[in-house]
Amino acid sequence: MKRVCETTCPYCGVGCGVQATVQDDRVLAVSGDERHPANRGRLCVKGSALHETLSHEARLLHPEIQGQRADWDAAIAAVAEGLKETIRLYGPDSVAFYVSGQLLTEDYYVANKLMKGFIGSGNIDTNSRLCMSSAVAGYKRAFGSDTVPGSYEDIDSADLMVLIGSNAAWTHPVLFQRMQAARQKGENRRMVVIDPRRTATAGSADLHLPLRPGTDALLFNGLLVWLADHGGLDTGYVEAHTEGLGAALATARRAAGSLEELADECGLAVSDVHTFYQWFARTPRTVSFYSMGINQSTSGVDKSNAIINVHLATGRVGQPGASPFSITGQPNAMGGREVGGLSNQLAAHMDWDDPEAIDRVARFWNAANMAQEPGAMATELFERVHSGAIRAVWIMATNPVVSMPEAARVREALAQCDLVVVSDCMAHTDTMDLAHIRLPATGWSEKDGTVTNSERRISRQRALVKPAGEARHDWWIISRVAQAMGFDEAFGYQAPVDIFREHAQLTAYENNGTRDLDLAVWADITAAEYQALTPLQWPVNDQWPMGRTRWFQDGRFNTPSRRGRLFPVQPRPPQSAPDSVQRYRFNTGRLRDQWHTMTRTGLAARLTSHVSEPRLAMHPEDAGREGLQDRDWVCLRSAGQAARVRIEITKDQRRGDVFLPIHWTRQYASQAVASSLVPTRIDPISGQPELKHAVIQLEPWQPEVQGYCWLPEPLQGPPWAAWFRRDLEGGTLYQWAGNRFSARQWLEARSPEADFQIYSDAGSGAERVAAFVQGQLKAVIWLGQALPDIAPEWIAEQFSSETIDAATRRDLLAGRSSGVPDVGPMICSCHQIGRFQIEHAILAEGCCSVEALGRELRCGTQCGSCIPDLRDLLQANAEGEA
């Protein structure tokens, strides 16, 4: 029987409600939940493809100890024994958990409780450290607590939206669509984007400030000065509700200089800076959104305070349409913050610097071994693994071997660690491949619990289907290990609601209005109530039983003086600067259709069709100086590591700045782990690494040949110097480059019984080979001097047929069926519309707007994240006609 279940998307921090259609233990379809306040029915392309990523093929289906299949009892015992033994020999601080914003709040809570209350160490940190720990520290410095003041509703009423270091069009598409919709409603609603790159978001803005990387604090200091000098401060508010303006202003004034000097320093046009300052000054309803571009910096906390400063100085905090708003990157980064799953947090918005809080939590947990001080933050944690101070590490639902700076050093650390336990839903991740004990965890569609999005909204992520194989929920695994370690009573949970209830109780425990995070209403929640939980923004207590949209509207903050605190910010440049060898500033980030390390999005072929390889974005002048053409290969070197990728020449980059997407792991690329090129430099307060800034050496690389290789399954150790893998419907595609290579000999060695189809163009050096065994397609390889642009899906599909019919076989090396037109590179992933179709609609059908294209082809009508591309195509073709 078909049923429709409400759940929450597991990707970004927008936290969209999803309606899943489920039948016979399978998720047939997903759509946006119209009633969920975060997205009101919309979904982005990643969310829309969720049901395409649920195959069990790539899943880890049973526990493994040292590569051998084991049952759960043995695996739990092995983990518990390993942890106990390590603690016995080396003490509690010799073990660590590295967890994830992918975990549900319940999982997080149990992990935090086990480490801090029972193992007795603060060594639990999370990948949120890489994502928004600077924003947390910024909020706490300014407001006295990690409380997001605003709400998505503010988008609808804001007259000015300032996005700083955020490519929301790609990273938070549903939120961005809401911003676009809001702009269309009012004439004078504006968007300013502050980003070194001309991202899709920047391309849609009224004003783009392509500032020199790392000069954000300078720009906002300058704004504070400009406001003060032009009567832009809300002096009444400042006097009544804030403190520190004088010092902040004085520091800003010293650093900022004249408007001209400041603009020059930031690499911006004076007029643009002026426009931005004027708009900001004149627009009370201003929301400033910021994310990784601010957070992933060695001065990320300062930068976020520089932004908050101007909001406090203008009284724009927690007012309708006016707040400084950090947008989180992960589905449950906020949940992690709430339970205290970072090593420098204690629990439930309580901190280590308060002995009473430690005591309170210890009493509440009835803790056997209450930790007394913060543990190691992510980079420090893996450094301690490397040095041998930490000898057992349990990594849950994250891939630090890819995502951490100097990722290769993390790999090295894990390779020499006594005990590496990894729980994940995927059988192969770069991190999982280094584990001694592998624990199959449930994934989205199986997991059951709660998550919190960027606007403090707690929603249910519900179990839709049975767990794959022997996979278990993370909370279950942690609890069983805790029990096996001898902590039976404290971890006797039977269901997620038991944990959620306890978590709610802790938030309310001896709270008395001292902590914003208060879920008192849920302190005795029943299973049925939990099952039917409505998405609410915390707090959920007696005063706010249906949640609270905004905080601090009354100007009362959580600092000891109850005043919002302006912080003096001395701008600091990034910790590395280009020199004659490392000539380029290196920036990293997300793509539109991928998420994190592709363990899930890599499985949906339509998500890899937008951008199928990690290309290094580079300004035409830089490419020209290096003698490079678009799509040429380069070798990048930094931090003792190398990467080989092709370049994409674009004026969207500043001169001297290059950008590489973060998603490609060793599962999907030979050498393209962006973070491996970034040295470990962290913010001294938040511990967040400077993943948005490094300097690199770049040299052209000319492979003798390059090509594609389609196979039914991925290879163990591809034979080429450089390669990228894509999982398609039916098979795997490698795009590769390297030395001259006899495709036929290689294939003959792999399957001696094969017969071959061969194409060769001696003039262009192109060669294509297909291998068949008894009429079934076994492999296809293309090679040549240059790579043709192709849609590789069709060939991969042919692996599924037992016998290929004659007509298909004849078309095979053409790469497409003769009956099907070539639609060109994919632009709209949602509706699978290619560039040639769009160009045809523009030139032949006379479509001259994004809307007209949407009516004609449906492109851009679902998630809307291809709209910037559509606009570019419209413009390019209009230019062509003229």
Partner: protein, 419 residues
């Protein structure tokens, strides 16, 4: 009324007559003189008749009363001489016919190897109805020797083999159809022929033929191999029939030399078909001949017409032997060769490209795209934009690319007009 005489009543003459009737822009009494008892038939179908898959009667191009209806008089006779001064032709019967225009469509005759015994009764070429009637008398199970592994020889061989005759093809060059195929495709062709029970000797020639006592023939090959056969079919080539033209002083070389209006050196006399030589080329295939007929009909009808020569393509019209060839088969230095092959499915395509234009195509297996390549070669179209998909056929070169191909065609036409 003007008197127009056509000498020869083969396929060229027949097509010319049909094209003239379609145009209906002339005012002349047309007489066509043919030496075969059956006239104007489709000679190409003879191999099917030989193979027993088609009736002789089905080869008629038009209904029996067609000539009468169109006022064309048919004469079954031989022309002995042409008197250009008097503008008349002498027939073997002694009759003399006056002409205002004379059209020579005398075709060709089989070339015979210069070996002893070639005139023996059991040696019979494969060109006319009469030849086929005699070859049909070779019984199943008997042996036949086909001399020449070109297009005609292979059609004769497969025709005979189709009736159960045990055929051996003796071919002088290293591979079959060496004018039309490269050695690779010829290798597969030879293999396919063997599977049909036809034996092939390449790099081999007949040295002598002698009669045996039992009425059969005995052939000795250059290698010394001796073969017995009931029939020997020479099919090593054709010779344009130019005797009449030469004797009356028209300009001849290999064939009767004609200009773009198919005029011989005497403006009152035209020539077309296998007997003609245009820009140094004599054609032995039907398509150029039809094109010549078309242009000549237009010219005779007073329309502007110019024959520009033909790109030649060949298709073996035998079931189970799907072979196509057009233009050159081997590239020269600087040419680009694109090859596609599927070994176990016996599919092969080879394209030769020179200066961005297709100049040759060899297909084995699926030959449906033959006309597409033929067309590209003939138009000298720029294929650069579709080069990558060209070998996969017309279906892959559609939409955008064909537009550019069409532009090229227009350009070519303009160039022609300018020239």
């Amino acid at each position: 009324m003007q008197q127009w005489i056509i000498v020869g009543h083969g396929m060229a003459a027949m097509r010319l007559l049909q094209d003239l009737m379609l145009l209906a822009r002339w005012d002349a009494q047309i007489t066509v003189i043919g030496e075969e008892s059956w006239q104007g038939y489709n000679r190409i179908g003879l191999s099917d008749v030989l193979a027993g898959v088609r009736e002789l009667e089905s080869l008629a191009t038009v209904a029996p009363d067609w000539f009468e209806k169109h006022g064309v008089s048919c004469v079954h006779d031989w022309v002995c001489r042409i008197d250009r001064k008097a503008r008349h032709v002498m027939l073997k019967s002694g009759e003399r016919l006056r002409y205002d225009r004379l059209i020579l469509a005398t075709g060709s005759s089989p070339r015979l190897p210069d070996v002893p015994g070639i005139d023996l009764p059991g040696v019979r070429p494969f060109r006319t109805v009469a030849d086929v009637e005699q070859l049909l008398s070779v019984p199943a199970g008997a042996r036949a020797l086909v001399l020449g592994g070109g297009l005609l020889g292979l059609e004769a061989a497969t025709g005979l083999a189709g009736r159960g005759v045990d055929v051996t093809v003796v071919h002088r060059d290293d591979w079959l159809m060496n004018r039309q195929l490269d050695s690779f495709a010829a290798g597969w062709l030879e293999e396919a022929l063997r599977q049909q029970g036809i034996a092939v000797r390449t790099g081999e020639e007949v040295e002598a033929i002698s009669a045996r006592e039992n009425g059969g023939l005995h052939a000795v090959l250059k290698s010394g191999e001796a073969l017995q056969a009931s029939a020997v079919v020479p099919a090593i080539g054709i010779m344009p029939r130019i005797e009449l033209a030469r004797e009356c002083g028209l300009s001849v070389d290999r064939g009767i030399q004609v200009d773009d209006q198919l005029r011989t050196s005497d403006p009152c006399i035209h020539a077309l078909g296998e007997c003609a030589e245009h820009r140094g080329v004599s054609y032995g295939l039907v398509a150029p001949l039809y094109e010549q007929a078309h242009q000549l009909a237009a010219h005779l009808g007073g329309l502007p017409a110019a024959y520009q020569g033909s790109a030649v393509s060949t298709q073996l019209k035998v079931s189970g032997l799907p072979v196509f060839s057009a233009g050159v088969t081997e590239g020269e230095t600087g040419d680009h060769v694109i090859v596609w092959q599927d070994e176990s499915h016996r599919e092969y395509r080879k394209l030769v490209i020179r200066s961005g234009c297709l100049i040759g195509a060899v297909l084995f297996g699926d030959i449906r795209d033959g006309s597409f390549y033929h067309d590209l070669i003939e138009r000298a179209a720029d294929i650069t934009s579709v080069r990558e998909s060209l070998v996969f056929g017309a279906a892959f070169c559609g939409a955008q690319p064909s537009d550019s191909l069409q532009n090229t065609e227009k350009d070519t036409e303009n160039n022609r007009a300018a020239a």
